[in-house]
């Protein structure tokens, strides 16, 4: 479709303009997919080129290098030692020694790798099943421990990470030899260990600062997440907990289970929970956003007194720990709670409850959902109010003044100045808040607990107001029905939902594109 220029566009009436925008949006979708595809292709291509260059570089280093460099291909750090970088050399050498020691000692790296049976369908993780054996000393059956699948998988994973680290270090070391060669060829001075240490507070300061947080993230986020992704391909559940019964690799079997919409599958339950999760996130985000903005505008209106008081009242809700206020409010709406009793006396509501045999408001799926969204407004408005206040103050006042002179009404001022500005600045925030609401465990779990219950799925009771995240939580609570593999699949699916949403939003919202714009 032909793109109009500005003049032609302005000539269109409202209906035509809307139609034009809609068409342009639809036309843009294939282009968007094409761009994503091209991006992926370009990424693969650049990866290929990088690998090629690396291999070439390594080859020339080996060919050109002297005996020390050649030797350091096998004994790490030898090149550094030769060029006088004693500290680096010793560290590389020590790393290599530790690596090989770890790999080859009994019950070291190779031992765990061998026990893991990577992805072989039907094979167990770990090879020795524990069991009861007759013990003549005690004259009874005693438990003889076998492998623990969780442990086996964890150690095997750690070994793989260690191998990757070794390869990276090896490459780094070869590169350093190359750099040293080049510097020596030019006749310049090679950095000493003292220089290295000094640069950690200067040119390499980022390494010093990042060391601690990145170690934490690798150990407590990356490693567990890779582990859990692997679990999705196994049969890890309460019956096969790895210790009393080994669990085994099952491939994509469990993914089929969750997308199976037939009688035995979880497809329907999953679909329902996903639908409510998305609906909840949508309503929770936008009711809060617009009402919060409305409250901020009210408080900031000229002529309204004791602004600070109104603000502090709202901020109190942020200060008091959520579980106190949410649990209390949840009980307020219960059948024996204050508000629950009052509402129960209204004929319309009490009739509805008695005809459906509901005891409290929380027993009705629809009422519970509405209550959640309403109470969430109570939770969320203060945050938006604070943020909106800050942004409102940043809007240049002359915009409003010139609008007034041109005779714009206050509604026009709102729709033409305030709203576009807010939407532009808070675009990324809306996304994070939407994602935050998708995973809003506290509000749902503390208020309704996911109830009213509608059945069991994945070894946990599932309620009408359960989000994916609360379902995930219930699945892992360690009952005899817990299905960890399903929890991990649900986790992966949450990731996919969030990733797709973010991709779309990042492509639509202008303010996410330029990080440097704000400086």
């Amino acid at each position: 479709m032909k793109r109009l220029n500005d003049l032609e566009y302005l000539k269109l009436n409202k209906f035509q303009a809307f139609w034009y925008n809609l068409l342009m949006f639809i036309c843009a979708i294939p282009v968007w997919f094409k761009n994503v595809g091209l991006g992926i292709w370009r990424f693969i291509k650049s990866c290929g080129i990088t690998v090629k260059n690396e291999v070439l570089d390594i080859g020339t280093t080996f060919a050109k290098g002297n005996w020390a460099v050649k030797l350091s291909f096998f004994l790490l750090g030898f090149g550094n030692l030769y060029y006088g970088q004693v500290m680096r050399g010793i560290m590389f050498l020590a790393f290599e020694l530790i690596f090989f020691a770890y790999m080859f000692v009994p019950s070291g790296g190779l031992y765990w790798l061998g026990k893991c049976n990577w992805f072989v369908k039907g094979a167990t993780v770990g090879t020795v099943q524990g069991g009861f054996e007759y013990d003549p000393i005690y004259d009874t059956d005693v438990w003889v421990a076998g492998d623990d699948s969780v442990k086996v998988l964890l150690y095997a994973l750690l070994t793989v990470i260690f191998i990757v680290a070794f390869v990276v270090t090896w490459r780094m070391q070869v590169k350093q030899c190359r750099i040293c060669m080049d510097i020596r060829a030019k006749g310049k001075k090679i950095k000493s260990g003292k220089d290295d240490l000094k640069s950690l507070l200067d040119d390499q300061f980022h390494k010093t600062l990042l060391a601690l947080p990145l170690t934490g993230i690798i150990a407590f986020t990356i490693l567990p997440i890779i582990f859990m992704v692997l679990i999705a391909f196994t049969s890890y559940d309460a019956a096969h907990d790895g210790y009393s019964n080994l669990f085994s690799w099952v491939g994509f079997e469990h993914f089929n289970e969750i997308f199976d919409f037939g009688g035995g599958g979880l497809g329907l339950t999953f679909g329902e929970i996903l639908a409510w999760t998305l609906m909840w996130a949508f309503f929770a985000t936008f009711t809060n956003y617009f009402l919060g903005m409305f409250v901020a505008i009210m408080i900031n209106k000229k002529g309204i007194k004791i602004k600070k008081f109104w603000r502090t009242v709202l901020v109190m809700t942020i200060a008091i720990p959520q579980f106190v206020s949410l649990l209390y409010v949840s009980k307020l709406f219960d059948s024996s709670g204050l508000i629950g009793r009052v509402l129960g006396q209204i004929p319309f509501i009490s009739n509805y409850l008695t005809t459906n045999h509901f005891i409290s408001l929380w027993d009705s799926p629809i009422v519970a959902k509405i209550l959640l969204i309403v109470i969430n407004i109570w939770v969320g408005i203060p945050y938006i109010m604070l943020m909106a206040t800050g942004i409102l103050m940043n809007i240049p006042q002359d915009l409003y003044e010139s609008a007034k002179i041109d005779g714009a009404s206050s509604t026009q001022q709102f729709t033409k100045i305030t709203l576009p500005y807010m939407l532009f600045v808070t675009g990324p925030y809306l996304l994070t808040s939407f994602v935050g609401n998708l995973n809003n465990f506290n509000v749902i779990y503390l208020l309704s607990g996911g109830n009213p219950i509608k059945g069991t799925a994945g070894g946990a009771s599932v309620g009408h107001t359960d989000l994916l995240i609360t379902w995930l939580f219930k699945m892992t609570l360690g009952s005899t029905e817990s299905k960890y593999y399903l929890a991990s699949i649900v986790g992966i699916l949450i990731f996919l939902v969030v990733a797709v949403l973010s991709l779309i939003v990042y492509n639509v919202i202008p303010s996410t594109k330029n990080e440097e714009d704000y400086k």
Binding site: D202, P213, G216, I225, I304, F323, S330, M387, Y429, N442
Partner: protein
């Protein structure tokens, strides 16, 4: 003719004034309503905690007999004091460690340029899309082997809260982004190392965000239920207030512990609200400054 015009103008300005007065009046009514709705739960908790005549939920709000019975029972009959101390320790430790982690992460990503910076940020963005709770299954397994669950759960939780906290760098990065780059450059020209720039130039300017980060770290253990309940596993000695008090409102416990829950809620709220209101200024700066720029 002239007089008429003037009259019309006066009438118009009067009507503008009147309409403004009406709209202001409506706003005041709304604001008062908001105040009542927002404060209702807090006043409710406070009043119910003084009801000595009952332990259950009642149909009225104001106590018939005022008294501190529930507060006394709280410390005599339950492990509440233990939970409170646990949570306070977690709060202090988390606030210190998290601040170190988050500030170093966000400082690096905001003010230093190095190879792989963009890649690192994108990677953490993607990593953040996984529900954080997923990691707990493995962490629980490992921690229970090492002995960091049950009564040792507070220690384990401190590690969990802090270790990955570097991923929450967005707000403070937004703050660092607003400090002019020319400051760094001037100091660098004068021969300062990057460390000196960090320590002597930027840190003194960053008081608001440091306090904001400390505040967030301190509040985290008070509000967290999910991770805490998972590691604590119903061991009363290792509970935080959130997990402990959650049990009190279960169907079976509700009629014995309801008023006690209110009393405990008041006690929990006092230190947190005190700290929060004292540092409110910095919180508002953090939310309004950093959050939107992310």
């Amino acid at each position: 003719m002239k007089k008429n015009d003037n009259n019309a103008l006066r009438k118009k300005s009067l009507s503008i004034k009147a309409s403004r007065r009406i709209s202001n009046a409506i706003i005041y009514v709304l604001l008062v309503a908001i105040t009542i709705v927002w404060l209702f739960p807090f006043v409710g908790i406070l009043l119910e905690s003084f009801k000595t005549e009952t332990k259950m939920q009642t149909a009225y709000l104001f106590p018939k007999e005022f008294g501190f019975d529930h507060y006394v029972r709280l410390f005599k009959e339950t492990d509440f004091l233990k939970w409170f101390i646990n949570t306070a320790i977690m709060g202090v430790a988390t606030s210190v460690l998290q601040t170190v982690f988050i500030l170093s992460m966000s400082y690096v990503l905001s003010r230093l340029r190095f190879k792989g910076r963009k890649g690192l940020m994108n990677f953490m963005l993607i990593l953040g899309m996984f529900p954080g709770f997923l990691t707990m299954i493995l962490i629980y397994k490992v921690f229970s082997d090492v002995g960091l669950t049950m009564q040792m759960a507070p220690l384990g939780l401190i590690i969990v809260y802090c270790a990955s906290s570097g991923m929450g760098y967005y707000v403070s990065k937004g703050f660092f982004d607003t400090i002019p780059k020319s400051l760094d450059e001037a100091a660098r020209v004068d021969g300062a190392t990057r460390f000196q720039v960090f320590y002597k130039v930027i840190m003194p300017l960053s008081k608001p965000i440091v306090i904001y980060t400390i505040l967030m770290g301190f509040m985290a253990p008070w509000g967290d239920f999910m991770l805490a309940s998972y590691l604590i596993h119903e061991n009363s000695q290792g509970m935080s207030v959130a997990v402990g008090m959650f049990e009190w409102l279960s169907r079976t416990n509700l009629n014995t512990y309801y008023t006690m829950f209110c009393a405990a809620g008041v006690i929990v709220a006092i230190p947190v609200v005190a700290v929060f209101l004292a540092l409110q200024k910095y919180y508002v700066e953090g939310v309004t400054g950093g959050a939107v720029k992310g």
